[in-house]
Symmetry: C2
Subunit: 226 residues, 2 copies
């Protein structure tokens, strides 16, 4: 049976593939930048409950970061050096998608994290045991997304204008994420090789992006956005 990522994939990438270090480093800086984005966005929280919700989400990202730090240390890698090449792309993503309202912050936390999780989960299927486990662990959804879905769908149901604005915002997040992913792929060869090896070939990569788009739509609907 051919290895096909859209069916049930079999591990094809060994844990000492150099791309694994790159993947962990990218994930690690992703957690750090998400931490700072969430804690800065919380300043716009309308009440204590929202402030606490975003702080808890941010803290969960650091828990994941520490898991990756541990994994990189076991590989003998200096995490700070390893993260360096990914700083710019992630900062650019956040700079180009700075929320201007509290609701935009919530949509970004939910949609952005979801997109990243979809992508890494697709890759995880072809990674060997322990590596796949770490990737899945650091992407585990937190209970806090319920808070986001409740807040956003309530606001959207109450105002067609809010709905229209947030729908555009959700699309823009997808676009900016793709832009930065392409930037990273073009500059980090070992990571790009790992992704290609994970999906099989270019055709399967296109299918992967289609599936991500579908998952994105499912999340937009969960928020009451179309």
């Amino acid at each position: 049976m051919a290895s096909n990522v859209s069916e049930s994939p079999v591990p094809t990438i060994s844990s000492d593939d150099p791309g694994v270090t790159e993947l962990f480093a990218l994930l690690a800086y992703g957690e750090i930048s998400a931490f700072y984005r969430l804690s800065a966005d919380a300043a716009k929280a309308p009440d204590l409950r929202g402030k606490v919700a975003l702080a808890s989400m941010a803290a969960a990202e650091m828990g994941h970061y520490e898991r990756l730090q541990e994994a990189l240390e076991r590989r003998g890698v200096d995490i700070y050096q390893a993260m360096e090449p990914y700083v710019q792309a992630l900062e650019d993503y956040h700079a180009s998608t700075t929320p201007s309202t509290w609701l935009e912050s919530l949509v970004k936390a939910y949609i952005g994290d979801g997109l990243a999780a979809d992508f890494y989960r697709e890759i995880a299927g072809t990674l060997s045991g322990e590596v796949a486990e770490i990737v899945r662990e650091v992407l585990s959804e937190t209970a806090h997304s319920t808070f986001v879905v409740d807040e956003v769908s309530k606001a959207v149901a109450a105002s067609p204008q809010t709905k229209a604005r947030l729908t555009l915002w959700g699309r823009r997040l997808l676009g900016e994420a793709i832009t930065q992913a392409q930037y990273v792929a073009a500059r980090r060869e070992e990571l790009a090789d790992l992704v290609l090896a994970a999906v099989g070939d270019i055709n399967h990569l296109v299918e992967l992006f289609d599936r991500m788009q579908e998952q994105h739509e499912v999340r937009m609907e969960a928020l009451g956005l179309v």
Copy 2:
């Protein structure tokens, strides 16, 4: 034998004392405000290592917050409502001690957390089993303070000016903490009663402040400040 907090104290305050809810609520908002202070201060970090260290410290505060939230829920208390009376005092403390440099941020994280921990630990000795355990747990020192001690003592050893400035800063932190503690004590009767019951009487309260001052000096010395 008389109950004396400076010897080995025996639990004198039952877990259903209304002051316990107040104490948990104060501790809980303390964690939230520390989270936001640390994550905002991290913007001044000179490198990725510093940025990560402060984010980890902030995340640890949220872990403690969640422990307190759980404890308050078990007591049938709405944590958001319970924290409300403490928001102003803690925000005022942070507003009056906003660090203007990275080193001031580090000193504040270390000295401020230490002062709070000393105070709560003194009280914990007279609280009944489970309550005392929660208080001690959320005050447990994190491994991150080693980072602070290293960074600050290195900078202080290299520059007498830095040393002089940070010594004044450390004193100011103590002064502002006392100011806000007095403000809280004057306004929250049940909490003030709990503290007095915990220490025994006014004379013992004075002794407690003397011990806190001594502990403060020990921490200042650990940072290379006199």
